[in-house]
């Protein structure tokens, strides 16, 4: 027993690390008792625990060791993402008949939460990719599904979601990119802004105007890279999310076959919004993962850092702060998972719950990560420590796929409508 304890305590799995090097976060993951209250596997089925385990292992081995490098060098980690796709992460809630894994929204949330502990930015991109694959799978006809989905699920090809424009963010329905029907092609003119993956991805799911003003005039078409008239702006320099390139996507008399339109004319806005419901849960799940990792990093730092003659973990103020962070993490997790269940069951409150979840969770988790950085003191500000990357990466989650302000508008609209109905 003593030998075993010495072996495990001074983990020198030099040879083991040849295939599997674990990041520092996970070496400290399970101190007795403490982790139990924020353990993300509580309440899950055995199968969901297996999914989560694979995602955690993948995050620890394939992503976490490179997270800082991908951020500093702005690398789009194609190989790592393709490895993830081999495990089934390319089309998690896409139908198996076109290469997807056919899992539920809750399973998806659990998986993204775990992957995010390895790299938020890359996981967030994978979630966007998944959203696009799902949109084609759900709203496309059989030809479109068979043409695009298998390659997307295996990540042979990567996808981008194009809704936002320079003049229309929260007010998405006012988008201007036009699509004029000419024979059997739509001619697209306009530009999209802030497109994740733009320029490096192969398949663009584009919301454009085929009809009158407002949401009913919007259709959804799939544009492939290499189409004449499709070009990209410069790569944006961002505070975080640096492992995915962000560019403007520009259409100049870009001809797209009518057969690339998903659903009927005028259905585009509804398709976009349905995609976003799931997207909001996914982004919130990514925030959860970052917050979870940050809480553990903060706890570990507190056990090590000494000031005024004792470790920070002896300070009651900091103990309470950590307890607060843990409580908010668990509350956030429960809300996201409820929203996921509501969405997969098609409950009437699903849409509002997704907005509420995104609003609440992205805010709380950012506060948690920020607090964790604070607990690290000066070290938290150094790029040698992972906590600052979590803070930078999840800051944008409060903005995209439903800006906080927009989510508030969304929820209050629903509240007021319901109130008026009474």
């Amino acid at each position: 027993m003593a030998a075993a304890m010495a072996l495990v305590r001074g983990v020198r799995f030099g040879s083991y690390s040849i295939g599997r090097s674990r990041s520092l976060i996970f070496n400290s993951l399970q101190r007795r008792g403490i982790a139990a209250c924020v353990d993300p596997s509580i309440g899950l089925t055995d199968e969901q625990k297996e999914f989560q385990k694979v995602a955690f292992d993948f995050a620890a081995n394939e992503m976490a060791p490179h997270m800082a490098e991908w951020d500093q060098k702005e690398i789009f980690p194609v190989e790592a993402m393709r490895k993830a796709a081999q495990l089934g992460f390319g089309g998690i809630y896409v139908n198996p008949d076109v290469g997807g894994s056919g899992l539920s929204r809750l399973d998806t949330s659990i998986i993204f939460e775990a992957l995010s502990t390895g790299c938020v930015s890359t996981t967030a991109y994978i979630s966007i990719h998944n959203m696009c694959a799902w949109m084609i799978d759900t709203f496309g006809n059989n030809e479109q599904r068979e043409k695009f989905c298998p390659d997307l699920c295996s990540m042979q090809k990567f996808a981008s979601y194009c809704l936002t424009e320079p003049g229309s963010g929260s007010d998405a329905a006012s988008l201007l990119t036009s699509a004029k029907l000419q024979g059997d092609h739509y001619i697209l003119n306009g530009s999209k802004a802030f497109i994740s993956g733009g320029g490096d991805t192969d398949v663009y799911v584009v919301m454009c105007r085929t009809g009158e003003k407002g949401p009913k005039g919007i259709s959804c078409v799939v544009v492939e890279k290499g189409t004449a008239g499709l070009s990209f702006g410069k790569k944006e320099k961002k505070v975080g999310w640096n492992s995915q390139p962000t560019r403007a996507v520009i259409f100049e008399d870009c001809a797209v076959p009518v057969t690339n339109r998903l659903g009927a004319e005028g259905e585009g806005f509804s398709i976009a919004m349905k995609g976003l419901n799931g997207g909001r849960i996914n982004i919130a799940s990514c925030s959860l993962g970052a917050a979870h990792a940050s809480v553990l990093l903060a706890r570990d730092h507190m056990c090590v850092r000494k000031q005024f003659g004792e470790t920070l973990s002896n300070s009651q103020f900091l103990q309470f702060k950590l307890a607060e962070m843990a409580t908010k993490l668990v509350a956030s997790r429960l809300l996201v998972r409820q929203a996921a269940v509501a969405l997969q069951e098609g409950r009437p409150d699903a849409v509002s719950l997704c907005s509420m979840a995104k609003l609440f969770v992205t805010d709380e988790c950012f506060a948690i990560c920020n607090q964790a950085l604070q607990i690290h003191g000066g070290y938290g500000y150094l790029k040698d420590y992972a906590v600052q990357q979590y803070v930078r990466d999840i800051r944008v989650h409060q903005i995209l796929e439903g800006n906080d302000f927009f989510c508030l508008i969304h929820v209050s609209e629903i509240l007021y409508v319901k109130l008026l109905q009474i």
């Binding site: 075993a4 495990v8 993948f58 495990l87």
Partner: protein, 259 residues
Amino acid sequence: MSARVLVGVKRVIDYAVKIRVKPDRTGVVTDGVKHSMNPFCEIAVEEAVKLKEKKLVKEVVAVSCGPQQVQETIRTALAMGADRGIHVEVSGKDYETLGPLQVSKILAALAKKEQADLIILGKQAIDDDCNQTGQMTAALLDWPQRSPEDGTFASEVNIEADKLKVVREIDGGLETIKINLPAVVTADLRLNTPRYATLPNIMKAKKKKIANVKPADLGVDVSSRLEVLKVDEPPQRQAGVKVETVHDLVGKLKEAGRI
């Protein structure tokens, strides 16, 4: 090839967990602590699944001894590619005292019952570090036993005709050994890199069967001949002492009775 492989998997405290001794000094804390499959067992499962993919064996059966929770470990093996599982139910006091001798008796009995041609085990478990189960099992069955590693780089395990061909790296180059089947193989760290379970495989694993068996059904007595008297933490690392000259160093070493 109609060979059947039995793979033993052990549920142990996860290697990343910081171990604590129970206050009553009878063992280590296991309640609420994260457990997972012994890393050496993962490598054993991977090797068995690889043999199946090379079509050298027909069926891979994962076996684990312990309480209800070990089913999680068997499911992980199924998700990696094993075909079915056997859960040998051992719980409570019996499980706390379960050691290599009893496990090897169980495995030997199962090997006969299942008509296994090959048993692949992890070289040792990271909780007790015994490195005995493989050897004892082979002895009980009177089968040859080999570790394709033995502390050096292993290259491969293959089945040719009715023999097991093991290639391993030694100081002088590569050594190829042929041993007769049936045999016991114990896997060491560098034999392979265990695969991740894929999402589709995890879902397929749900449908695979895990049979329940009691040691008594196999005619095995799991009572232990060993009694653990005390479990202690390793001594705290003491600070060193700095000395000025070599003369002082020799003096201190003599004082400590080292020379």
